[in-house]
Amino acid sequence: VKAAVLHGPEDLRVQDVPEPDGEVIVTVQAATTCGTDVKMWRHGHPALQPYPCRFGHETAGVRVDTGERVLVSDSVACGACDPCRAGRAQICRDPTWVLGGFAERIAAPAGALHPIPGERPCTRSRAAATRPTSPCSAAVRWG
């Protein structure tokens, strides 16, 4: 499959990579860019795997196994740390990151997937933009 791969700071190459291997394979329909992607591209990031590595964490697509449209979360919380046990998974201390949305396909844990209801108005671009919307929703919840 084709994927955007970081080989070092500011060294991004779109290239063929092996088929992703993981719990669920998702065909990417849309992946939005985020300020964090810019940081990852320019300087690297603690959440990245060692180079060469894939990135992109605001992803919407279709499950290969069921054909269901899904939103791919950027991470799965550990469920065991203090924030998780306090019901604040959004600040989990030890999340499993799900990166690699800038690609034709991505592998993700089932726990990272959220079914996208209906076709409209939840188009692929809107669905991918759920990730930047969700912290706002979280802020409203906690505020």
Partner: protein, 71 residues
């Protein structure tokens, strides 16, 4: 910049938000799919996968607010 005096006098609350848990994702999806919130105006550019680097360059320069990469 946040006006500390205004915060104090009006007893305002500032809430920071780092990320989102599964429940927040579902709530955000509900808001979008029900049409109550439309994030599409945030999307300023669309690119093919081959142009991911260009998408990030525009975002870095502040020319793109949100770019969508469509593989």
């Amino acid at each position: 910049l946040i006006d500390g005096t205004a915060l104090f006098l009006r007893e305002l609350t500032v809430t920071a938000s780092y990320s989102a848990g599964p429940g927040d994702m579902r709530r955000a999806l509900d808001l979008i799919s029900s049409g109550r919130i439309d994030p599409l105006p945030l999307v300023s550019h669309r690119f093919a996968l081959d142009e991911t680097g260009r998408a990030l360059e525009l975002q870095r320069r502040g020319e793109a607010l949100k770019a969508v990469v469509v593989p």
